[in-house]
């Protein structure tokens, strides 16, 4: 394997391994789903997922046992970074979403866009780990999977999730 790394370092053409492709096919939909719960836009979520997989490819072996946990956590944190930097730049995305999503019912579309913006803003203001915890849970991850992704004890998840929900409530209704 060191020989392979040496070959790569020497400038051999990069390429995806079968293990990476299998990992990608297996985990890509879930990684997109996690990112989408945060950025609230399907195209942007796919961009985030691409970045996450590229980052993983750079530094980690595709057959690593921790790969799914790493990808889930990276999806949450990369998406949170994206909305935070956007929140800092201003709230232009409300308009952006309205323009991009011309639903049949304009009023409903406007309401949805507003709710998306609220959720994004709330998640952006929350403590990063709490936000990630909440999103991973609502993306269908089990307590075990969340514990592995965020480096937490399984027994702490319930308590921390409760606190994350409280924080989310405060931020949404503030």
């Amino acid at each position: 394997m060191e020989a392979v790394a040496a070959l790569r370092a020497a400038g051999a053409a990069p390429g995806l391994t079968a293990a990476f492709e299998a990992l990608f096919r297996r985990e890509y939909p879930r990684v997109v789903g996690i990112a989408q719960r945060i950025v609230r836009d399907a195209d942007e979520a796919e961009d985030v997922a691409q970045d996450v997989f590229v980052a993983f490819y750079r530094k980690h072996p595709a057959d690593a046992g921790y790969a799914p946990a790493w990808l889930y956590a990276a999806a949450a944190h990369t998406a949170l970074n994206a909305i935070r930097s956007r929140e800092r730049r201003g709230r232009r995305e409300t308009v952006h979403t309205l323009e991009r999503d011309p639903a049949v019912d304009p009023q409903r579309s406007a309401e949805e866009a507003e709710s998306h913006a609220e959720v994004r803003a709330a998640l952006a203001r929350m403590d990063e780990r709490a936000a990630a915890l909440l999103v991973l849970r609502h993306s269908g991850l089990s307590y075990e999977e969340i514990a592995a992704a965020l480096g937490l004890r399984r027994s702490s998840i319930g308590t921390l999730l409760g606190r994350a929900e409280d924080a989310f409530r405060r931020e949404v209704t503030r």
Binding site: E21, Q50, Y57, H60, Y66
Partner: protein, 337 residues
């Protein structure tokens, strides 16, 4: 707001993803940008994970370095079970890349068996950390601007123990792999055991929440956080009777230990209670500082972006590190109470 409301707000209309198109896109990007993996082995490190595991990496690296350094510096008087090493103070030992690549790892001289391997985990707050470790955890009363307790995370590593058994056979085999001949292992070292205890330890990890992280790079959060404060029981090494002068003499005579490194380690005045902090000279600078009223080692990286201070007091080893200036790091260290 009810649980149902949260559920509703957190729900998004997931569009079916086309994984094959996405795979083609990433393949094209990797080829176009000639992105290459930097991993050296397929095994990778189990510790090499993002987020809260950043500090685990630091701890693991520090622990393994301290363990090797400890083995190289043991000294004292042999008894049936004797404490060879218990840190009371710290000292910088400059090392070069030749020292790092030349020195064999622990596995070259014997077998390390964990009886309770290190399993770091996160806890919600300091109180839980103190309960889990039985330690009084010192907290900072002063934080640099932008760093807030509100953004702190806490990690705990329980007490860990390991037994290291020297093996003449393994030493010969390791030397043979390098086409070297190791000096013969004295009979009383072959088969002798060291009992190594580390921890418990508590790590406080602060990020300011506004650090400029790239929105497009998941790798960004692999960088140093603003501030890490670590406190732990230092490594304790006990022996089942090996002649320790002989052990030091034997280990320092191994192929790969440069004469300069051996001389520095021999020069440590009280090796049984001095924790050597290896400083890679081409990457970092170090100096002796006074922190919390005792001698500590300040380490600055050569970029000037990060710094750390390490000291030992009241039976604990402390470390404060981060992407902060020397005066900021020392102010945090001195404010611990």
């Amino acid at each position: 707001m009810s649980e149902h409301d949260i559920e509703r707000l957190m729900t998004v209309a997931e569009r079916p993803v086309d994984s094959e198109s996405a795979l083609a896109r990433i393949r094209e990007r990797i080829e176009r940008e000639r992105i290459q993996p930097t991993i050296a082995t397929s095994g990778g490190s189990r510790m090499d994970r993002p987020l809260v595991s950043i500090w685990i990496k630091g701890l693991a690296a520090a622990a393994s370095v301290a363990l090797i350094a400890t083995l190289l510096t043991v000294s004292g008087v042999a008894e049936t079970i004797i404490t060879l090493f218990e840190p009371k103070t710290v000292v910088a030992v400059p090392i070069t890349s030749a020292d790092l690549t030349g020195a064999a790892g622990l596995t070259a001289y014997g077998t390390l068996t964990w009886s309770s391997p290190p399993k770091p985990y996160d806890v919600p707050d300091i109180a839980t950390a103190e309960k889990a470790t039985g330690m009084k955890v010192l907290v900072p009363s002063q934080l640099p601007s932008g760093v807030s307790v509100a953004n702190a995370r806490y990690g705990v590593m329980d007490r860990t123990t390991a037994t290291y058994t020297f093996s003449a056979d393994k030493t010969r085999a390791a030397a043979a792999l390098l086409n070297r001949t190791a000096p013969p292992m004295p009979a009383n070292i072959d088969g002798s055991k060291l009992f190594i205890t580390g921890g418990p330890a508590v790590v406080q990890y602060f990020d300011d929440g506004t650090a400029p992280k790239s929105a497009t790079s998941a790798g960004a959060f692999a960088s140093l956080p603003r501030l890490i404060i670590a406190q732990g029981k230092g490594p304790l090494v006990q022996s089942d009777g090996v002649t320790v002068e002989q052990l030091q003499q034997y280990l320092l005579a191994q192929p790969g230990i440069t004469p300069a490194l051996a001389a520095q380690i021999r020069a440590i005045k009280d090796p049984s209670s001095t924790l050597p902090v290896p400083i890679p000279v081409d990457m970092a600078t170090s100096k002796t500082v006074t922190v919390q009223g005792v001698q500590g080692v300040f380490v600055g990286d050569s970029t000037g972006l990060g710094s750390a201070v390490i000291w030992s007091k009241d039976g604990y080893v402390f470390g404060v590190a981060g992407t902060l200036t020397e005066s900021q790091i020392l102010a945090v260290a001195n404010s611990l109470h």
